[in-house]
Subunit: 333 residues, 4 copies
């Protein structure tokens, strides 16, 4: 029977960065973590009267549950994080606009002289039984049910280069990737940069469009189970994902074409390895095989995903088969 | 019974631009066109020994079938192009690398001092009965079947602003959008810029990954049936698409985030109109509803698509219901 | 004695594109042209009450004087355009904001949901004797004299690839480069793409900051003398400039780093040729020698300039010495 | 008489980040620091046989001298750093290419499948008496004297948002701005993010072209005198500079147009304050007045500078006149 460790942080236990925080606890590879994660607003935006700029305290945004020191992990290894389940911890979620944040507004760096967009908060209802979340318009009577598709926006480890990064940043250490692909049933692979890896996660979304256009998804506290595994002596320069049906690479950079390049380049490298192809053959193969769902086009770096069906991969062994192994563990929980 | 006009251009009849060419013929709205389109290499790359830089003659790339003068169309109207069928005209297709073209190489404008990648041609087999196309690696014995998913890379009208654009360029007049969404069953809406619209199409792909990473899809001559309709007094600033299940917007620009912005912005405007939402409510709605499959990240402008399920749209009437109407015509052919 | 050809277009003679227009006249290399150019608003914005969006008629912006068919010029040659003098033709000039145009506003492609900036017209006084132009603030009593530094924003030839481009576009054919370096005493080199080259110019600026931040300079009709020379069998892929003291390259692209790359890359190539350096030595040399004044960060493509002092070049012969030759002709006029 | 504090770090005292390091010492505002700074390679590249990838140990690049805790400084204040003198500490300097780093090569994020450029080291001679530095080509007998124009690439404080950033990164906390404008006689203003500010500097350049095209300037250990002053209760969101003749703003972001926007936007804000102009008048004023010399187009963020002559500013008081004050102190040292 698998050990399951429950951790529900007290308010003062949340961390706001990748790197720079002491471990919440140490765990062995193979451990199942049963975690509570607070929403990206630290639970402070609770009604349409709560505006982010008024009730939140910068830089205390996007609280992370963790970090976890993974025993035995060292730079050059890869951490495998398998999502067993991601379940909303409340019957409501929240979205909003945040001044000078999002894809369809000027921002701090896409600086213009225009006035910011209005700041608005939307409260979404969540019905876990029916697996729906319900949108209510602010300016009309319109409302609509969306499918509940829970995911984590933020999953990462301590960065390389002696850095400490805000939990709002996505990069090669993971972090705020904000891809809807980070859902239950998926294994995420991230390279270890420091001893113990210092894994944490947060930023649950009841659902999110691709690109997170307005900068904020349907934000929700979550109860999430993950199994952590360690793949020794295998480096992973940029986060990758694996589901039962697809392999995926991610790139986080600006401008967006660089995020695309990183993800596609990493997919070419991966296909070379999995299929024994030359670089040019893998380039051709990926060019015709890949789907490219955007993750976020609003964060400090933008994130692009490259996705290839496992049908193309035949019997190639992926990360020593760890996804299947973790899937098995997951089923037996 | 619908009039069907067959047009198979003689070699000297192909055109290489949007705008600047005399109409191949004039047709009335409602006409079904049964067209032959040559591949993007003008049919000159026919074996792995044919290299684009040697057998093609710049700027005579991406031959267009057309243009068609649509009787009655004027600036401020919208042309609806419904794809009835797109069928490979050969049992082979071709892909390649082209020096200094593609997403994972330096280019003429992403200029570096590095050597170009090798120039390589791949010939793909096409089996129309089995609906597959087959990839053969150059540097190993690897081969693999992909689903045949025919589409047109290039669909457009004469541009605005007195311009003539190469058929290799995607922009607000359509052109080389290179999105896999341009498939049979889909209606494409493009704004008319000059009297007669001057519609043409070309660049058939047996299939294509999202982003067209290496710059070249599985290029194939096609026999394609389209029905053309005219929507008077409705402007369409950027190309849009409609299938039985989705509405889609496109943006073409550099950097890629601007292509994303254009498509998402246009989707927000469209949702405002279809659902009677305020701008901010439509922004929130789109942010949670949209999928964002990339089209191309290699052409003169990059193209991003925003896609929303019709399930979200209830009974909203889209472009006066022309898609359903054309779908009916299509079924009766 | 040098032949001087005066050409002052009648209103209906202006052209609005590069390519696609019949020559105003044919001239031999060596001809001195004495030209009148209208301002970018076709002279329609004449007081602070005239707003661009109201008094101008799109796409009839940025009128060009020309094009001139240069006898004997063919693709693969280079046109040398030496600016003898650029003199304001009026005692006033105009600047403005234009809705959704400029660097510090959202635009048609950097699309946001924000309201556009206010549309404002400023009339600048010009005192040719004192060589000043005077700014008057709209919202306060502030006014200030700036040095008169006349230049042409737009200089170009017919583009390659069968295209016709709006006069608002900068690219490898020149066009709307909007660099303050295009001043009297400078020779501009542009590659010929079509027989006769079809050179034209326009868009005089009484002065302009680097980057043309708000999108509009101090726009003024000009009387401009240029001498045209033809350099046979020398290709020039991107526009270059030469003054008595510097050589300059230009790149026009998006994003701005690509414009920078193009200009720097071309400077490396030029230094290799002029100094007999290897590519890597020229890269190192340019990296420490170059200044990089931005031209425009508002047009369809952005333009970056790379500039190297002739002190570094010793006795290297530049374009067969044509600048010195034209300088001599210029002095004798 | 001004207190002068000499600090020459021992090898183990260098720091590699902004933020995250304990202060080397505390000083009072008004202190003159006489500092030794090691070159960006930590002094390990000493001959053309030393290649960066072989002799340097990542992430131990760009050693910083500091950080200094400035007594009394708190978030919301501005630190003024006046450069009294910057003098090469050796009679040689070094430049190089670094694999996958620089503007004219693919990089880790502008990822391509091409081979990296060759890795080369150039040793430059420095003659402080003659104020020259001498370039020797690697592949030919060419050599050339350049003017010695010493500057600091890296000047900054601890960042906001709980972050620790590599010394290779430029951003709103300063850091690796790599602008040739950071020279003797200039005052740099940076906003304080944490108590004590934690100022450090490094990365001396004997000279540098604008854009630092190959990614590496003429790198040299320096002896540098700075005077530090504190401006209480004045915030400075992005680093600014002031010389006897100009005011300058900086922006660091990707893509490069965003760096440009940040700098120009901040210049508009500054001109509003200094000249009492409205936002739109200041936008117009800046658009015609500004020069825009690029700083770097190679680092993690690109840096753009906006520069306005003080002739335009009349008697406006800038940062309470601290530059003049520090200039006086500087002259009396």
């Amino acid at each position: 029977m698998q050990e399951v460790v429950r951790f529900e942080p007290r308010p003062e236990q949340y961390v706001w960065t990748f790197g720079g925080a002491s471990p919440a606890m140490s765990i062995d590879p193979g451990t199942v973590l049963d975690l509570y994660t607070e929403d990206c607003f630290a639970g402070r935006v609770r009604s349409t009267a709560d505006l982010v700029s008024q009730v939140c305290e910068f830089p205390f945004l996007n609280p992370q549950t963790g970090p976890f020191y993974i025993n035995g992990s060292e730079p050059g290894d890869t951490l495998a994080i398998h999502f067993v389940s991601i379940e909303p911890a409340r019957d409501w979620a929240v979205s909003s606009t945040v001044p000078l944040f999002g894809a369809l507004t000027s921002t701090r760096t896409t600086a213009t002289l225009q006035s910011p967009l209005p700041e608005i908060t939307w409260i979404w209802e969540i019905d876990k039984d029916k697996r729906i979340c319900r949108f209510h318009a602010k300016d009309s009577a319109f409302s609509h049910n969306f499918a509940l598709e829970p995911m984590h926006g933020t999953v990462g480890v301590a960065p390389a280069n002696l850095e400490v990064r805000s939990a709002l940043v996505p990069d090669s250490h993971g972090g705020n990737l904000d891809t809807p692909e980070m859902r239950a049933g998926v294994t995420c692979y991230i390279g270890v940069n420091v001893p113990g890896a210092l894994f944490s996660l947060g930023d649950g979304h009841a659902r999110q469009g691709e690109g997170e256009t307005c900068g904020v998804a349907v934000e929700c506290a979550m109860n999430t189970k993950v199994v952590i595994e360690l793949i020794k002596d295998v480096a992973t320069p940029w986060p990758r994902l694996e589901s039962d049906t697809h392999i995926m690479t991610t790139g986080s950079a600006r401008p967006l074409e660089d995020a695309f390049r990183v993800a596609q380049h990493d997919m070419v490298l991966w296909l070379m390895e999995l299929l024994g192809l030359s670089a040019m053959d893998a380039y051709q193969f990926a060019s015709q095989a890949v789907t490219s769902p955007l993750a976020n086009v609003c964060d400090t770096n933008y994130t692009s995903v490259a996705k290839v069906s496992k049908e193309y991969l035949r019997s190639a062994e992926i990360y020593r088969g760890v996804h299947s192994h973790l899937r098995e563990i997951s089923k037996n929980l």
